[in-house]
């Protein structure tokens, strides 16, 4: 997740990482991790340094260009849960396609590349 400030909104965090803030902590599907109250910098905003420390997310800064990148949670497996996170990707014309729209159908999702 690319950040130009260290307190993204809940929505920005959820879209990029699948983690949402709930009263019980940071949650992804059925997994919740308690967080210190200091994670809230303002209503609807998260101190990403607190979150990164707790979830083992690398936070890498490029000071020259004023941006940070937040890596995924670590210390366990690549999948925290078997529940597919909300993923929306564009087609070749830029039209967004939410994978969740295929609920009710078996899906084989295959990654490929032109390279």
């Amino acid at each position: 997740m690319i950040l130009d400030r260290l307190d993204p909104t809940d929505d920005e965090l959820a879209r990029a990482t699948g983690w949402t803030l709930k009263p019980e902590g940071a949650c992804k599907a059925e997994v919740c991790v308690p967080l210190a109250a200091s994670v809230r910098t303002a209503p609807g905003r998260i101190d990403v340094r607190v979150l990164a420390e707790k979830l083992g997310m690398a936070l890498v800064e490029d000071a020259a260009h004023g941006v940070w990148a937040l890596g995924p949670e670590s210390g366990g497996r690549a999948l925290t849960s078997a529940v597919l996170p909300e993923i929306t990707l564009p087609d070749r014309y830029g039209r967004p396609f939410p994978l969740g729209s295929l609920r009710g159908t078996k899906v084989f999702l295959c990654a490929w590349a032109s390279w």
């Binding site: 997740m1 690319i2 990029a16 990482t17 699948g18 083992g56 997310m57 690398a58 936070l59 890498v60 490029d62 020259a64 260009h65 941006v67 990148a69 937040l70 890596g71 995924p72 949670e73 670590s74 210390g75 366990g76 497996r77 690549a78 999948l79 925290t80 849960s81 078997a82 529940v83 597919l84 996170p85 993923i87 990707l89 564009p90 087609d91 070749r92 014309y93 830029g94 396609f97 994978l99 969740g100 295929l102 609920r103 009710g104 159908t105 078996k106 899906v107 084989f108 999702l109 295959c110 990654a111 490929w112 590349a113 032109s114 390279w115």
Partner: protein
């Protein structure tokens, strides 16, 4: 390229209840993935992930890799090599005698890569036919357990790669390269990080002054037979 064979499989299995979604992991997006999609004329969702978000969200580390998702939106198989049902193997490809030696060497290595398309596609067909009763449909705990280990180095690699992509897209090509190199160092088994960055410099992913690794050198280092892990169906 696998898109036409996935389209053929989709025509067979869509009436039986399966949808196929293909996702191109390409930093340059539709500019490079679009022509392949146009040529394959897919009837299924054919999407583009220019940010490589599937690398971080699911743990994709090479292509082709696939996941199976049931009707409730739950993964029943974690990311694993998704061998396409090919008519012929890459070892059967013929290059003209005048082709560069490096290309011939690459093809020779590629021919040694272990592929298991029959077993993979048979398992997929079994799941489509039998759903939860299929022995290839794994329980949620097993799906998580079989997904790749993610140490902090992998998280740092993902963040470094994302910074590299961000800077490259913004036109800071030189500034991007140290981040790509760092991602390669931290997670050498992630071929998407390496092949994407190499291809931004040289489409043949050969040696350049910018990276101390390239496709041919790296595959020889690990042995072509280890390029894809053996399927554990």
């Amino acid at each position: 390229m696998d898109l036409p064979v996935w389209q053929a499989l989709r025509s067979e299995l869509r009436p039986l209840g399966l949808e196929i979604v293909t996702v191109a992991l390409d930093t340059r997006g539709a500019e490079v993935a679009g022509p392949w999609i146009d040529a394959a004329k897919p009837e299924h969702p054919s999407l583009i992930d220019a940010a490589h978000s599937l690398d971080t969200l699911l743990g994709i580390t090479n292509v082709p890799m696939g996941v199976w998702i049931d009707e409730d939106g739950v993964l029943v198989r974690p990311p694993e090599t998704a061998f396409a049902p090919r008519a012929g193997g890459i070892g059967e490809m013929k290059l003209p005698g005048s082709a560069p030696q490096r290309l011939k060497d690459m093809l020779a290595e590629a021919a040694k890569i272990r592929v298991e398309p029959d077993a993979y596609v048979a398992a997929l067909r079994d799941w489509v036919a039998n759903g939860k009763r299929s022995r290839f449909a794994l329980a949620p705990d097993e799906v998580v357990r079989r997904s790749a280990a993610r140490p902090i180095e992998a998280s740092r690699a993902a963040a470094s790669f994302e910074l590299g992509q961000h800077l490259h897209r913004a036109g800071h090509v030189e500034a991007a390269r140290p981040y790509f190199r760092e991602a390669h160092r931290l997670q050498p088994e992630n071929w998407t990080y390496k092949r994407e960055a190499w291809s931004l410099v040289d489409p043949l992913q050969g040696p350049t002054e910018h990276y101390d690794s390239d496709w041919l050198a790296d595959i020889r280092k690990i042995g072509a037979e280890n390029y894809y892990p053996k399927l554990e169906l």
